[in-house]
Amino acid sequence: MSFLQKAGAWLDDRLGISDTLMPLAKHLVPPGAKWSYVFGSATLFCLILQVVTGVALTLLYQPTSAAAYKSLEFITHQAVFGRLLRGVHYFGASGMIVLVGIHMLRVYITASYKFPREMSWISGVFLLFLTLAMGFTGQLLRWDSNGVWSAVVAAEQAGRVPIIGTYVARLLLGGDTIGGQSLSRFYSYHTLLFPALLFGLVGFHLYLVFRNGVSEPAKAGQLVDPKTYRKWYQDMLNKVGVPFWPYAAWRDVAFSVAVIMGIFTLALVFGPPELTQPPSPATIYTNPAPDWYMLPIFALYALMPPAIESYLIIIAPLLTVLALLALPFISNAGERSPLRRPWAVFGAGTVVTLVFALLVLGEQAPWSPKFDAKPLTTKLINSHNPQIVAGAGLFYNKGCIYCHLVDGHGGHRGPELTEVGRRLKTDELRIRIVNGGGNMPAYGGVISEKELADVIAFLETRK
């Protein structure tokens, strides 16, 4: 035996590669578990990508509230491949969210959470929320004005929790305002606390895959019976199972490589999100908006009725978590095939549609004043009457255009006014402007009689 062979044998004996690890790699998986099974492992690869790029970023990042912004500018514009590194970490985070979502949907649609895999689902639910928490704290580490204001918004949300709310908000900010202590906390959560919890839970999640086996592809009419399932599954594996390595693993690897190269390409082409202004809480001319995966929640807060909002902010997440945790206990046996579970498929479809709709709305934010609306051009005003021209100027100056659309210019909060002259008479216009109503402020106190007449004259020409 050569020296190398001997060293190899020694290592194998002491580490137990052949005895312990190889059986894991070669464990039998049901046949037919094909491309729909690659999302969990792709999420894992994506997590590893995030860990590696995250560690690399900590080599360049200064986690103090005074220096973080400058170090981010350094990473983005000066550090060798720093832009690429930040970009990969950013798109990797998006990748995590997308893959976790698809993995969860696949598990739900094929009912893989049923006996004996209840704990896989439950650990998965915790992993989902940890992933979201990582995304959120990561966005805050971009310690620009957007990051600072996101921290405030997060504290405000926490503050709605009854009784303990203000304390939770204080703990989140590390004090009663944003300051030197705030970033230290988010940095610790994002790089130490949450990753530690993530690693533990991912290990547990994987251990359960080995203990209970990969769920077999769902077949209509093949019911799960907790009394006989384990024996049936073992017999099936012994009869037709294939070793995971390499017969199933190659798909995981192929798909994960595609995902990682996709993230790399996005990072190369688009780069990381540009930093907004420096992180001064006194910089108020900023438009705090979360990263895309939080936009549905952002949209929900704008759209739900204010009267129930305080309750919904607390009760809805609580109910969601409870429902997700209860799912494998409510239905842990019986049919698994999506073909025989139309309501489950319909429910999942509804949730996906709802989230997408809210995402699109969150991107457009039609409830927000459009602060960057431009004054109406002479061509659009289409009149030389001084009163009408003055009215058009006031329409911009008084902020009407922030919320009302005229010929494609302006915001979307209120009704479009392109043809308002056809719909409303002088008196009706007057009443609405003076008294406001719904989501329109009452302008009576902030507009003079002459100004009011000018604006009305302008609006009446919109036909």
Binding site: G159, Q181, F371
Partner: protein
């Protein structure tokens, strides 16, 4: 450490029921301990937990303190000068910047705070938090419209801070403000106003 130091445990006489288990050392040892050392083992178990508890408590105090520090620290408020009387015309609304009450040495720009200051009359000032009462986003004063507007979810307030439109459940929070002897306009710094459930 040599094994000779320990007294060799007496070989138990296998009882008939244990004979077939004699090959299993665990069962053997457990059965032996049960016969001989029950009070002793009980004491050792309690000692282990007791000592572990002492260590956990000792380490836990500073660790938990670090976690809960923001709740244990005082919540200071300080009067900060934001300008002099001549800086603010009657009827005008200004964004004033000041240092928050307990800024840390390493805070940098984040120790800054801001408020909306409005001079109502010769003697009367009114100061609003820049935080929207909905979810804390920074509201802007729109001079032409005479309204505060929030970019996040479209909350709008009148110049007196009351809600004009949108989702905020209450008006803008007001800060204490005073004119000190030498014409300095001073503002009492305050925490970020947290909107609670009942508002």
């Amino acid at each position: 450490m040599s094994e000779e130091k320990f007294p060799t445990p007496p070989t138990p006489t296998p009882s008939p029921s244990l004979t077939e288990q004699a090959g299993n050392p665990n069962v053997d040892a457990d059965a032996r301990a049960e016969r001989e050392g029950e009070p002793r083992r009980d004491f050792l178990v309690k000692l282990t937990f007791g000592l572990g508890g002492v260590a956990a408590l000792a380490i836990g105090v500073p660790v938990v303190s670090a976690v809960l520090a923001p709740l244990l620290e005082p919540d200071p408020q300080t009067w900060r000068k934001v300008g002099t009387l001549t800086d603010f015309a009657v009827g005008s609304t200004h964004l004033v910047k000041f240092e928050n009450a307990d800024s840390k040495a390493w805070s940098g720009l984040t120790s800054e705070s801001a408020a909306w200051l409005r001079r109502e009359s010769e003697k009367e000032f009114i100061a609003f938090s820049v935080n929207c009462a909905h979810l804390g986003c920074p509201v802007r004063w729109e001079q032409g419209a005479g309204l505060f507007m929030c970019p996040c979810h479209g909350g709008i307030y009148y110049k007196d801070g009351t809600v004009a439109a949108g989702p905020p459940p209450q008006g803008l929070t007001q800060y204490h403000i005073r004119v000190a002897g030498n014409n300095d306009v001073e503002l009492l710094t305050a925490p970020i106003p947290i909107t609670n459930m009942t508002s």
